[in-house]
Symmetry: C2
Subunit: 254 residues, 2 copies
Amino acid sequence: MSEVAEKFARITPVPAYQMVAEAIEREILSGRLRPGDPIGTEAQLVRQFGVNRSTVREGIRLLEQSGMVQRDSSRRLAVGLPHYDQLATRASRALVLHQVTFRELWEATMALSLATIDLAVDRATDDEMRALDANIDATEAAMDDPAAVAAYDTEFHLLLEKTGRNRVLEMAREPSNMLIYPTTHVAVQGTVEGARRLVEAHRMLVQALRTRDKEMARLWTRRHLNDWRKGFEKAGLDLDQPVDLVTASQATTS
Amino acid sequence: MSEVAEKFARITPVPAYQMVAEAIEREILSGRLRPGDPIGTEAQLVRQFGVNRSTVREGIRLLEQSGMVQRDSSRRLAVGLPHYDQLATRASRALVLHQVTFRELWEATMALSLATIDLAVDRATDDEMRALDANIDATEAAMDDPAAVAAYDTEFHLLLEKTGRNRVLEMAREPSNMLIYPTTHVAVQGTVEGARRLVEAHRMLVQALRTRDKEMARLWTRRHLNDWRKGFEKAGLDLDQPVDLVTASQATTS
DNA sequence: CGACTATGATTGTCGGACAATCCGACCTAA
DNA sequence: TTAGGTCGGATTGTCCGACAATCATAGTCG
């Protein structure tokens, strides 16, 4: 808000490779290039931009990692639809570097899960609820294997998110998901009781979806996440410790 | 979960420049390189990795855009703390490319704002409430300028987010913020009444913070966002239209 | 002690080169 | 006709060498 009127704008020399990246990005965002469309070959870009191939290549690399451009079959470059994971991977790593604590992670997950479940209660279809049931059955069958339980738990919550049918919320959750879900493994490991309570919570959540009972859904969401927290602490971990990739296992699926 | 046992794993040749990027990233995430530390010069990296300088440079570009490495003063490379905006810019563009609708955006913002306000009610300090008051006064003084009102509104909500003191939630909100805040301009433009209601809502929100009244805070958050929605529709825009950068103005501050 | 300068280091950009791979057209045999 | 093989051109990944512009640093001068 405090913008002093200055005589001269700051001069910031922009390297050519960056301008190449920005030019391509503009084309994509303006809609002139659509996902799937091939970007020209490097030789074509060299001609169009009038810069060296090395420069073009550096520019392309800037866009490549975020998924804005992808190498399709063979290695030709095409406009890509950046998928959530790619960005979420970066984002979750940023959270780690910022040393956010597990408490912040837990709080945010609580809030986001409640938002998700609200939408899911309104929108769950029979098919989706059947899929959730199937997931719970599978979880129950694997209750003595913490890693499997954690994997099924992740899948359960991803199904729940899809049920909410809101991609903005889905994407907002992804980074924290990548950090917190792997720790379920640890949180459940301590007691066999943990896995049992997890399955029960999932069952009650689906029942709440069936009866469209938002209050019940919220209640069990809270319980479920409180259980996670208790398990986490029982495992001897500190909620106020910064999230690290060791504890949060593999959030590194680049 | 449905993993068919296949005879052979997929063969995915990894280019050298990508391996360079991954190697550097590993060093950073493991903590051996910390934010601010200088990465070696290109010549050093060439020696260490045993590849050509062009290859090293391409690898660096992969990390540069997400803010994992930054050029400090001069142009030497150092480990960077990726700031939210950088990632959020990418993320918001991804949302645009995925053609999410304003309805999804509005829904998600509603859920996230409620989560934020809950935390803010618990944690707001006197200083923070004074800052919010000052912002509202400024808004009131500029009520006939929709652009200024929109800018102050954005600032207000950012202050509110800081008050929540949860960086995970803060970062989760950033991408949708970048898309929805610019539209406030449009939503307020229609009627002078719009700006007045906006200021009132802000006042009531701060009052709710002062009295630690969570219900009141939630109520006014809902009203505030419903107002935005009404203004949006009154401006002749369709909630179910995909978010585009034209309507959402400048979400393009790379 | 501070301002200035020369020197070396570093980055950004360029040009050219070559191997590996991929695409597509063409060809051959059943 | 079609499945499979061959071949040439196009494209990418990587390398090499080079040079101007800029920055850091130390050394010099006032």
